[in-house]
Amino acid sequence: MTLYRFLAEGMFLGFIVLIVFGGMLTVWSRLLMHAVLGLAVVFIGVAGLFFHLGSPFMAMMQVLIYVGAVCVMLVFGIMVGHSPTETDQLRWSGNNFLLASGTCIAGFILLSATLIRTHWTAAAERVGDYSMQHLGHAFLHQFVLAFELISVVLLIAILGAIIIARPPQETDPS
Protein backbone atom coordinates (compact mmCIF):
# COMPACT_ATOMS: atom_id res chain seq x y z
CA MET A 1 0.00 0.00 0.00
CA THR A 2 1.76 3.12 -1.18
CA LEU A 3 1.17 6.74 -0.37
CA TYR A 4 -0.44 7.27 -3.76
CA ARG A 5 -3.03 4.60 -3.00
CA PHE A 6 -4.03 6.45 0.17
CA LEU A 7 -4.17 9.73 -1.73
CA ALA A 8 -6.41 8.14 -4.37
CA GLU A 9 -8.65 6.74 -1.66
CA GLY A 10 -8.89 10.14 0.02
CA MET A 11 -9.90 11.70 -3.28
CA PHE A 12 -12.49 8.94 -3.75
CA LEU A 13 -14.05 9.80 -0.39
CA GLY A 14 -13.88 13.48 -1.35
CA PHE A 15 -15.84 12.76 -4.55
CA ILE A 16 -18.48 10.89 -2.54
CA VAL A 17 -18.78 13.91 -0.22
CA LEU A 18 -19.15 16.13 -3.31
CA ILE A 19 -21.97 13.94 -4.63
CA VAL A 20 -23.84 13.83 -1.30
CA PHE A 21 -23.38 17.57 -0.69
CA GLY A 22 -24.40 18.48 -4.24
CA GLY A 23 -27.43 16.20 -4.12
CA MET A 24 -28.61 17.78 -0.88
CA LEU A 25 -28.05 21.26 -2.35
CA THR A 26 -30.05 20.29 -5.44
CA VAL A 27 -32.99 19.07 -3.38
CA TRP A 28 -33.05 21.59 -0.55
CA SER A 29 -32.17 24.88 -2.26
CA ARG A 30 -35.01 27.37 -2.57
CA LEU A 31 -33.51 29.10 -5.60
CA LEU A 32 -33.35 27.15 -8.84
CA MET A 33 -29.93 28.65 -9.60
CA HIS A 34 -28.56 27.01 -6.46
CA ALA A 35 -30.14 23.72 -7.53
CA VAL A 36 -28.29 23.88 -10.86
CA LEU A 37 -25.07 24.68 -8.98
CA GLY A 38 -25.62 21.58 -6.81
CA LEU A 39 -26.24 19.55 -9.95
CA ALA A 40 -22.91 20.71 -11.42
CA VAL A 41 -21.15 19.71 -8.17
CA VAL A 42 -22.76 16.24 -8.37
CA PHE A 43 -21.60 15.84 -11.98
CA ILE A 44 -18.02 16.77 -11.07
CA GLY A 45 -18.11 14.16 -8.30
CA VAL A 46 -19.46 11.56 -10.73
CA ALA A 47 -16.65 12.43 -13.16
CA GLY A 48 -14.18 11.72 -10.34
CA LEU A 49 -15.81 8.31 -9.79
CA PHE A 50 -15.38 7.58 -13.51
CA PHE A 51 -11.64 8.25 -13.10
CA HIS A 52 -11.60 5.63 -10.35
CA LEU A 53 -13.51 3.24 -12.59
CA GLY A 54 -10.65 3.31 -15.07
CA SER A 55 -12.09 5.58 -17.75
CA PRO A 56 -10.61 9.10 -17.97
CA PHE A 57 -12.37 9.51 -21.32
CA MET A 58 -15.81 9.12 -19.75
CA ALA A 59 -14.81 11.49 -16.93
CA MET A 60 -13.87 14.14 -19.47
CA MET A 61 -17.09 13.58 -21.43
CA GLN A 62 -19.08 13.87 -18.20
CA VAL A 63 -17.52 17.26 -17.41
CA LEU A 64 -17.79 18.42 -21.03
CA ILE A 65 -21.40 17.39 -21.74
CA TYR A 66 -23.12 17.53 -18.36
CA VAL A 67 -21.32 20.40 -16.61
CA GLY A 68 -20.50 22.29 -19.78
CA ALA A 69 -23.64 21.84 -21.87
CA VAL A 70 -26.61 20.56 -19.86
CA CYS A 71 -26.09 22.83 -16.84
CA VAL A 72 -25.64 25.92 -19.04
CA MET A 73 -28.82 24.97 -20.91
CA LEU A 74 -30.68 24.61 -17.61
CA VAL A 75 -29.48 28.06 -16.53
CA PHE A 76 -30.82 29.44 -19.83
CA GLY A 77 -34.14 27.73 -19.17
CA ILE A 78 -34.34 29.29 -15.71
CA MET A 79 -33.50 32.76 -17.01
CA VAL A 80 -36.10 32.52 -19.78
CA GLY A 81 -38.83 30.92 -17.70
CA HIS A 82 -38.97 33.17 -14.69
CA SER A 83 -36.91 35.49 -12.54
CA PRO A 84 -33.74 33.78 -11.26
CA THR A 85 -34.37 35.06 -7.75
CA GLU A 86 -37.89 33.65 -7.65
CA THR A 87 -38.14 30.95 -5.02
CA ASP A 88 -39.09 27.42 -5.87
CA GLN A 89 -41.19 27.48 -2.72
CA LEU A 90 -42.65 24.21 -1.56
CA ARG A 91 -46.18 23.96 -0.32
CA TRP A 92 -46.24 20.81 1.76
CA SER A 93 -49.65 20.13 3.12
CA GLY A 94 -50.22 17.88 6.12
CA ASN A 95 -48.15 14.74 6.16
CA ASN A 96 -46.94 14.98 2.56
CA PHE A 97 -43.37 15.79 3.61
CA LEU A 98 -43.26 12.78 5.94
CA LEU A 99 -44.73 10.55 3.24
CA ALA A 100 -42.27 11.70 0.57
CA SER A 101 -39.13 11.57 2.71
CA GLY A 102 -40.21 8.32 4.36
CA THR A 103 -40.78 6.63 1.03
CA CYS A 104 -37.42 7.76 -0.35
CA ILE A 105 -35.46 6.82 2.78
CA ALA A 106 -37.19 3.44 3.05
CA GLY A 107 -36.56 2.77 -0.63
CA PHE A 108 -32.88 3.66 -0.27
CA ILE A 109 -32.50 1.41 2.79
CA LEU A 110 -34.26 -1.50 1.07
CA LEU A 111 -32.17 -1.16 -2.08
CA SER A 112 -28.93 -0.83 -0.07
CA ALA A 113 -29.76 -3.94 1.97
CA THR A 114 -30.36 -5.87 -1.24
CA LEU A 115 -27.12 -4.57 -2.76
CA ILE A 116 -25.06 -5.50 0.31
CA ARG A 117 -26.49 -9.02 0.48
CA THR A 118 -26.02 -9.73 -3.23
CA HIS A 119 -22.87 -11.46 -4.37
CA TRP A 120 -21.74 -10.36 -7.82
CA THR A 121 -19.64 -12.75 -9.87
CA ALA A 122 -17.08 -11.28 -12.22
CA ALA A 123 -16.81 -12.47 -15.79
CA ALA A 124 -14.52 -15.47 -16.19
CA GLU A 125 -12.29 -13.86 -18.78
CA ARG A 126 -11.77 -10.27 -19.87
CA VAL A 127 -11.24 -9.16 -23.43
CA GLY A 128 -9.98 -5.76 -24.50
CA ASP A 129 -8.73 -2.92 -22.34
CA TYR A 130 -9.66 0.66 -21.41
CA SER A 131 -7.80 2.30 -24.29
CA MET A 132 -9.54 4.80 -26.53
CA GLN A 133 -8.53 2.60 -29.46
CA HIS A 134 -10.59 -0.30 -28.18
CA LEU A 135 -13.57 1.95 -27.41
CA GLY A 136 -13.48 3.54 -30.87
CA HIS A 137 -13.22 0.10 -32.45
CA ALA A 138 -16.28 -1.04 -30.49
CA PHE A 139 -18.21 2.07 -31.55
CA LEU A 140 -17.56 1.56 -35.25
CA HIS A 141 -17.99 -2.22 -35.28
CA GLN A 142 -20.16 -3.61 -32.48
CA PHE A 143 -22.33 -0.53 -31.79
CA VAL A 144 -22.27 1.14 -35.19
CA LEU A 145 -26.09 1.08 -35.57
CA ALA A 146 -26.70 2.52 -32.08
CA PHE A 147 -23.95 5.09 -32.67
CA GLU A 148 -25.60 6.33 -35.87
CA LEU A 149 -29.08 6.22 -34.33
CA ILE A 150 -28.01 8.37 -31.37
CA SER A 151 -26.77 11.04 -33.77
CA VAL A 152 -30.10 10.94 -35.62
CA VAL A 153 -31.94 11.21 -32.26
CA LEU A 154 -29.82 14.24 -31.30
CA LEU A 155 -30.49 15.90 -34.65
CA ILE A 156 -34.24 15.31 -34.39
CA ALA A 157 -34.23 16.55 -30.78
CA ILE A 158 -32.50 19.79 -31.78
CA LEU A 159 -34.88 20.37 -34.70
CA GLY A 160 -37.89 19.54 -32.52
CA ALA A 161 -36.68 21.88 -29.77
CA ILE A 162 -36.38 24.73 -32.28
CA ILE A 163 -39.85 24.06 -33.73
CA ILE A 164 -41.53 23.80 -30.30
CA ALA A 165 -39.85 26.90 -28.86
CA ARG A 166 -40.52 29.06 -31.93
CA PRO A 167 -43.28 31.65 -31.43
CA PRO A 168 -46.53 30.72 -33.23
CA GLN A 169 -46.68 32.08 -36.77
CA GLU A 170 -49.38 34.58 -37.59
CA THR A 171 -51.41 32.87 -40.29
CA ASP A 172 -52.46 35.03 -43.18
CA PRO A 173 -56.29 35.00 -43.48
CA SER A 174 -56.22 35.58 -47.24
Partner: protein, 105 residues
Protein backbone atom coordinates in the same frame (compact mmCIF):
# COMPACT_ATOMS: atom_id res chain seq x y z
CA UNK B 1 -9.64 -3.68 0.71
CA UNK B 2 -10.47 -0.02 0.35
CA UNK B 3 -14.01 1.30 -0.30
CA UNK B 4 -13.15 2.12 -3.91
CA UNK B 5 -12.45 -1.59 -4.59
CA UNK B 6 -16.02 -2.67 -3.92
CA UNK B 7 -18.80 -2.73 -6.44
CA UNK B 8 -21.34 -2.16 -3.64
CA UNK B 9 -19.93 1.31 -2.85
CA UNK B 10 -20.60 2.53 -6.38
CA UNK B 11 -24.03 0.90 -6.54
CA UNK B 12 -25.02 2.57 -3.28
CA UNK B 13 -23.93 5.94 -4.67
CA UNK B 14 -26.14 5.24 -7.68
CA UNK B 15 -29.06 4.32 -5.40
CA UNK B 16 -28.51 7.50 -3.38
CA UNK B 17 -28.67 9.60 -6.54
CA UNK B 18 -31.84 7.79 -7.63
CA UNK B 19 -33.71 8.48 -4.40
CA UNK B 20 -32.41 12.02 -3.96
CA UNK B 21 -33.61 12.72 -7.51
CA UNK B 22 -36.97 11.12 -6.75
CA UNK B 23 -37.39 13.19 -3.59
CA UNK B 24 -36.39 16.33 -5.46
CA UNK B 25 -38.98 15.63 -8.16
CA UNK B 26 -41.65 15.53 -5.47
CA UNK B 27 -40.29 18.59 -3.70
CA UNK B 28 -39.62 21.00 -6.54
CA UNK B 29 -42.71 22.83 -7.73
CA UNK B 30 -41.47 24.06 -11.09
CA UNK B 31 -40.93 22.14 -14.32
CA UNK B 32 -37.26 23.18 -14.49
CA UNK B 33 -36.66 21.98 -10.92
CA UNK B 34 -38.15 18.61 -11.82
CA UNK B 35 -35.95 18.43 -14.94
CA UNK B 36 -32.86 19.06 -12.77
CA UNK B 37 -33.80 16.07 -10.61
CA UNK B 38 -34.35 13.85 -13.68
CA UNK B 39 -30.79 14.68 -14.73
CA UNK B 40 -29.63 13.54 -11.29
CA UNK B 41 -31.37 10.18 -11.73
CA UNK B 42 -29.85 9.70 -15.21
CA UNK B 43 -26.36 10.42 -13.85
CA UNK B 44 -26.97 7.75 -11.18
CA UNK B 45 -27.80 5.26 -13.94
CA UNK B 46 -24.52 6.16 -15.62
CA UNK B 47 -22.59 5.46 -12.40
CA UNK B 48 -24.23 2.01 -12.20
CA UNK B 49 -23.29 1.17 -15.79
CA UNK B 50 -19.66 2.22 -15.29
CA UNK B 51 -19.38 0.28 -12.02
CA UNK B 52 -20.73 -2.95 -13.52
CA UNK B 53 -18.50 -2.36 -16.52
CA UNK B 54 -15.40 -2.12 -14.32
CA UNK B 55 -16.13 -5.00 -11.94
CA UNK B 56 -18.12 -7.69 -13.75
CA UNK B 57 -18.39 -7.07 -17.52
CA UNK B 58 -16.19 -9.11 -19.85
CA UNK B 59 -15.58 -6.27 -22.30
CA UNK B 60 -14.81 -2.80 -20.86
CA UNK B 61 -15.96 -1.01 -24.00
CA UNK B 62 -19.61 -2.03 -23.56
CA UNK B 63 -20.34 -0.11 -20.36
CA UNK B 64 -18.54 2.99 -21.60
CA UNK B 65 -20.58 2.90 -24.82
CA UNK B 66 -23.82 2.57 -22.84
CA UNK B 67 -22.87 5.46 -20.56
CA UNK B 68 -22.09 7.62 -23.59
CA UNK B 69 -25.51 6.78 -25.04
CA UNK B 70 -27.14 7.78 -21.73
CA UNK B 71 -25.23 11.07 -21.93
CA UNK B 72 -26.55 11.68 -25.45
CA UNK B 73 -30.14 10.81 -24.51
CA UNK B 74 -29.93 13.09 -21.44
CA UNK B 75 -28.72 16.01 -23.55
CA UNK B 76 -31.50 15.49 -26.11
CA UNK B 77 -34.10 15.16 -23.37
CA UNK B 78 -32.93 18.36 -21.65
CA UNK B 79 -33.13 20.28 -24.94
CA UNK B 80 -36.67 19.07 -25.66
CA UNK B 81 -37.93 19.72 -22.12
CA UNK B 82 -36.50 23.23 -22.01
CA UNK B 83 -38.13 24.11 -25.32
CA UNK B 84 -41.42 22.72 -23.95
CA UNK B 85 -41.00 24.84 -20.81
CA UNK B 86 -40.44 27.93 -22.97
CA UNK B 87 -43.58 27.13 -25.00
CA UNK B 88 -45.61 26.52 -21.82
CA UNK B 89 -44.35 29.75 -20.27
CA UNK B 90 -45.34 31.68 -23.38
CA UNK B 91 -48.88 30.28 -23.28
CA UNK B 92 -49.65 30.07 -19.55
CA UNK B 93 -47.16 32.66 -18.16
CA UNK B 94 -46.22 30.16 -15.46
CA UNK B 95 -44.03 27.07 -15.09
CA UNK B 96 -45.92 25.74 -12.09
CA UNK B 97 -47.30 22.26 -12.93
CA UNK B 98 -50.35 23.04 -10.77
CA UNK B 99 -51.26 26.00 -13.01
CA UNK B 100 -51.08 24.04 -16.25
CA UNK B 101 -54.41 22.25 -16.03
CA UNK B 102 -56.20 23.50 -19.10
CA UNK B 103 -56.40 21.77 -22.47
CA UNK B 104 -57.52 23.59 -25.56
CA UNK B 105 -58.31 21.30 -28.42
Amino acid sequence: MMPSDHLTTYLMIGAFMLFVGLFGMIRHRTLIGMLICVELILAGAGVNFMAFNYFVAPDPAVGQAFTLFILGIAAAEAAIVISLVIAIHRRFHSVDPQAINELRG
